[in-house]
């Protein structure tokens, strides 16, 4: 087998690929899904509460506000600049602390503080910023509330937000569409247009065609998986480990795509087969989405072994070393699919020869 000729097949598919709707689908769908999920369930384009402070002295209130969790505090030097920025909704609110405010508060004086809110800020954000600022002012004034607040977490402490539980679904689409659909549809299209027969009368062998098509699927699967994880900010310091699983998942799916592409006699048969077998691919995602389902059952499905480690590394903070078993299983599945790819490739080659 010549790697150069396989590379030529890959380059040809790469050149012609962008005109295929499947190629564009593979590129666009993970991005569209990410956007929709973030927009519907998440806080896309909604930054945390932002407070601008002009501190004319060196108030302890500013320091305390900067330490508050969940609030972005920016210290500005000019009041007019702050007013303009708050009006333009660069900040949700602005606070002017005159010089000597701490001393005045500590001496029990009532200090008129100027608190500006942006007309475009949310009511809840104004409340959060106002209450938090007031607490810090009270603190500096030495007013200690006679109450202790005990935070009690109810429900599942390991609760994972829906948008995080949907991560395997988005990754699955990125890897499966590029990995399965691209090689499979490309093979079927070439058979339907009989360009495969033309290619096979050149020195290019079937194994090189299959390798070239699989390579395109794997490269795009890994690339789109990477992009999906990056825009979902899901790497959690495990980019390398996740890339390994994306690669293994991409290879597994590309092998499946080759088997289907060699087997299906036309596009209708291919898409019917994929639709029929989609549940086997999607099933692990359902178990992540619905934690109440018996989780052990998910292990029956091959895609579990690359989707679950990626999900766990992104959400639960596990490391690559915690998923060595899944690496071995993924490798075993890839190796087990190889004879099927070879057999289906030979079958297709025979059919092409007969057709000629």
């Amino acid at each position: 087998m010549s790697l150069t000729r396989a590379g030529d097949v890959l380059l040809k598919d790469l050149r012609l690929g962008p005109r295929s709707p499947i190629f564009l689908w593979a590129l666009a769908l993970p991005l569209v899904f990410t956007f929709l999920i973030s927009a519907v369930f998440g806080d896309l384009f909604a930054p945390p509460a932002r407070l601008a402070v002009v501190d004319e002295g060196s108030s302890a209130i500013t320091e305390a506000l900067e330490d508050d969790a969940g609030i972005d505090v920016t210290v500005l030097t000019d009041t007019e600049e702050m007013r303009a920025a708050v009006q333009g909704h660069d900040y949700d609110a602005g606070l002017l602390l005159p010089a000597g405010v701490d001393e005045a508060l500590q001496s029990g004086e009532r200090v008129p503080l100027q608190f500006y809110v942006s007309g475009a800020s949310l009511a809840s954000t104004r409340l959060v910023l106002g209450v938090t600022t007031l607490a810090e002012v009270r603190q500096v004034a030495g007013q200690v509330p006679p109450v202790e607040v005990q935070v009690v977490t109810v429900g599942d402490e390991d609760w994972v937000p829906v948008e995080d539980r949907l991560l395997p679904l988005i990754v699955m689409y990125a890897v499966v569409i590029a990995g399965v659909f691209l090689p499979a549809s490309s093979l079927v299209e070439e058979r339907e247009k009989r360009t495969l027969d033309a290619v096979l009368i050149t020195p290019v062998r079937m194994s090189e065609v299959l390798l070239g098509k699989a390579a395109l699927g794997v490269v795009l699967a890994v690339l789109m998986g990477w992009v999906t994880l990056a825009i979902n900010r899901a790497f959690a310091g495990q980019a390398l480990g996740m890339t390994v699983f994306l690669l293994l998942g991409g290879i597994m799916m590309a092998e499946l795509g080759l088997v289907l592409g060699c087997w299906a006699k036309d596009a209708n048969t291919l898409f019917t087969a994929i639709k029929g077998g989609a549940l086997l691919i999607i099933a692990p995602v359902l178990f992540t989405l619905f934690p109440g389902l018996p989780q052990g059952v998910a292990r029956v499905f091959p895609t579990y072994y690359f989707l679950q480690p990626i999900y766990e590394m992104a959400v639960t903070g596990s490391g690559f070393g915690d998923h060595l078993v899944e690496v071995v299983v993924c490798l075993a599945i890839c190796l087990a699919l190889l004879p099927a790819v070879v057999a289906m490739g030979k079958r297709l080659e025979r059919r092409s020869a007969l057709a000629l």
């Binding site: 609030i71 708050v86 333009g88 508060l105 475009a120 938090t132 002012v137 005990q150 599942d156």
Partner: protein, 358 residues
């Protein structure tokens, strides 16, 4: 320039575009997909913190806070019922407060008491912190300790107060969707032009009585017409013409002419589909920046305001979300017009020279 010749070339171009299944698919997808996304997204912005409370003896204290926009209280009989409501998501509660029976008397006599703040793991830290602070504030009020300053009662609101009338994400997405549609058509025109230049069908056209001017006019008409038509259909389907329709129609027309000029430049330089794709994306990226910037709160950076598509995006934003009229958007429309003239002229000159060299 002959109108009948231009019309003939336009018909030929439309036939070629219709025969291209790839662009047909992109066009149909744009018309179906963008409205679908628009209507799936939430139409309102929830700006209220809903809190469940057990022990309504603190009612008089909470009344002051309840009057504040963005805060709502629901009473529960006991802690278990409140916890159930939080876990099941009933009433969209973000947290619960369980006050002890003697909270008021204990606070008034400066005796320490304990209040439970029930939260789910989904509650963001700033909300948890704000509610803890709220409890402390209530205790200090019960103690008779006045706040050393009045922040919440008398804030200065800068700009139009949009509490209760916030712009939903889908409304913010309108300019982006309209511009994406224009971009799709720019790409279609660029590919059509590149194909004609590469296959030299343009030289065949020019040996007929058709002149270079006819050819360029036809390309401008096809590009502008298609982009305007498709963007108008999408805008209509997403309710974009409900306010200021004539202004928006003019903005779409200018935007269509702008992307057509850019499409002609991309097409003139493109050697094949891949180079057209590359050049188009190279040109699309900066043009899309203003549309994305409009999704984020705050003042747009000055370099973004200098981009050709800023006038278009700003006009759509101001008209559709703020109900702006001709006078308010005049500077943006003028800027858009200026860029459109520049882009269209550049397209005509570059493509004209390319055709002349064939």
């Amino acid at each position: 320039m002959s109108t009948s010749i231009v019309a003939t070339i336009v018909r030929k171009d439309l036939r070629e575009l219709r025969a291209d299944r790839f662009f047909l698919l992109l066009t149909v997808l744009s018309v179906v997909f963008y409205p679908l996304i628009f209507w799936v997204l939430p139409s309102t912005v929830d700006e209220t913190l809903r809190v469940g409370v057990v022990q309504r003896d603190v009612g008089p204290l909470l009344e002051g806070v309840e009057d504040t926009d963005g805060f709502a209280v629901t009473e529960f009989a006991d802690e278990a019922a409140l916890a159930d409501a939080l876990v099941s998501g009933q009433g969209d509660l973000v947290a619960g407060l369980v006050f002890p029976d003697d909270f008021l008397s204990a606070a008034a006599s400066q005796q320490p008491s304990q209040v439970s703040l029930l939260v789910t793991a989904a509650v963001p830290p700033e909300v948890e912190s704000a509610l803890s602070t709220l409890v402390s504030e209530l205790a200090l009020v019960a103690l008779g300790e006045p706040a050393p300053t009045e922040l919440l009662a008398d804030p200065v609101v800068l700009g139009e107060d949009r509490v209760g009338d916030q712009v939903a994400l889908r409304e913010q997405l309108r300019p982006l969707m309209a511009f994406f549609v224009l971009m799709t058509e720019m790409f279609a025109l660029a590919t059509l032009v590149a194909a004609e230049v590469q296959s030299r069908t343009v030289t065949a056209v020019l040996v007929t009585p058709a002149t270079r001017t006819d050819f360029l006019a036809a390309k401008g008409l096809v590009g502008t017409g298609l982009a305007f038509l498709e963007a108008s259909v999408v805008m209509a389907l997403i309710g974009g013409f409900a306010v200021g329709a004539p202004i928006l129609a003019l903005a779409l027309l200018l935007g269509a002419a702008l992307v057509t000029g850019i499409g002609m430049v991309a097409g003139a330089f493109g050697r094949d589909f891949m180079t057209v794709l590359f050049i188009s994306i190279l040109m699309m990226v900066p043009l899309m920046v203003p549309a994305f910037a409009a999704l984020f709160p705050g003042t747009t950076a000055s370099w973004v305001q200098a981009l050709p598509s800023y006038g278009f995006v700003q006009t759509v934003v101001e008209v559709s979300t703020q109900g702006a009229g001709w006078a308010e958007v005049a500077p943006d429309l003028l800027m858009l017009l200026g860029w459109t003239v520049v882009a269209f002229a550049a397209g005509v000159v570059v493509l004209g020279r390319r055709v002349a060299t064939l």
